[in-house]
Amino acid sequence: MIRAIGIKILMLLPLSIILSIILQRKLGLYLHPKLHIPVLVSILYLTYLILSVKIRNFCIHRSTLVAWGIFSIFLLFSFVHLSGFFKETKVKTTTKSAQTTQSHPQTNLLKTKHSDSSTPEKESTRQSDVLYTNLPWIAMTLEKKRFNASNKISVRGFILRNAALDRLGEAAIARVMISCCIADAIAIAIRIPQDSVHSYSPEDWYEIRGTLHHSHLKSKATWNIYANVHFIPRYILEPDSIVKITEAPVDPYLFFFPEDQEMKEQY
């Protein structure tokens, strides 16, 4: 009897974790929005099934119990990590880097912004001649040859740097796109010239405004060193203004939508 109740509680444990993920609106860090309703419905359905089955009928193989337990531990671990439990040390380092950038008088283009204070004023500072969009959309529209490359664009992303790109005097800005879940995440990247005046720190988030310019790559092998990163070929992004975002955005991932407009509006 007690064992059966214990099994029931173990069965319900990951479901309650998933429910709390949904309630805290963190499911976007795992799955594409189109799957949120199916997951919610199936979690409720599964909860109903587990609660409605008579304890005496509730027989289950031991390996399944182990797998279900491991699943709940992994889920809990990733959730705790994502909701920022371990992030205190990271905040310290970002404030340090903010101070160092302020002390550099040459970095006239580089401004540091705290994302929490900047969110209300960002809407008002948006300029009408700039297209606020994202890298995956640009890559797709370029492929369809429907993109006007002379447009001024503004994109957000994190910085990629490696030895091969450094040798070319370039860095890259990338954004991760998900078409179903994290397993199929790919990053779309575009190269940016890396001036000595403002050298980017890798893996930090930036908001870059500028225009696309033609730039052919000489050798593909020197810069293409990540398996899941796809560079936009033949173009380089010449920045007009660079804004460092001190904290990664609340929604770091972009999602693939078949509708062009929906895809374009993500920022």
């Binding site: 799955l31 799957l35 997951v39 509730f58 797998a67 279900w68 879940c181 199929d184 293409n224």
Partner: protein
Amino acid sequence: MLSFFHFFSSTILESIPFLLLGATLSTVVEKWIPSDWFVKHAPSKSWISGLLGLFLGCILPTCECGSILIVRKLIAKKAPIPFALNYMLAGVVVNPIVILSTWTAFPGKPQIVIFRLLISMITALVTTFVISRYVPATAIFPKRQRIELQLPCCAAKDSFASTVLHEFFSIFALLSLGVFLSGLARVFMPNAAWLFLRDHSVLAIPLLEIYAFILSICSETDAFIAASFVGLPSGAILAFLCLGPVLDLKLLLLYRATFSIRVLRILLIVPPLTVWLLCSAGEMWL
């Protein structure tokens, strides 16, 4: 290490709705289809029932983890074996959801969608033919079921809910083991190995078959991954799209639990070779 936890839990989360759908549909098959229905209504010629099985996916659309549950129930109901095998091998591609996702991932390239459907159907037919030709019907399933299909408490008179739960959890352990292994491969395999797989166009088709085998992504999403292989020959992309739903790391574990070693051997050899041949032939037409 954290990315591994994240990968594991999100892949399982993604598969839960489809797994539950498969468990529910297979319970419906068990509870509502009388046990002699298939014996009465199945066409007498086995090739006709095999062809019908190809299109069952349009009525019961699931992805590969859900479909194997339905197949086991179909076989337990004495459905013709070519019918069930063709549904298992082709039904995961020949269904509206997968066609739609392939269509959206390759806009303006209807030939990819058509070739994917054709190649998966032919592969399923060839594999089913080989199995029914070389394995006698009594040797298709192992003598002792590895997952307990009939626990004493899970008899036919059980309630709908407990049968669905039993179906769901009987496949869950194997599925999570498969996701665990492919997650390990993805997190700990060096970048260089992935790039070698992706960039060597001479060996592109067999290498992308291996890639599809290790990645073990759901048949409903693999089109989006394939769309990101920019610069690869279309034959290799087709091979990735056609083999992934039929054979991969997590499916291998599920097959191992359902079929005998002889069938498993055929499933490991015939589909990759057929896909390889057909894709190299199809490349000329693309």
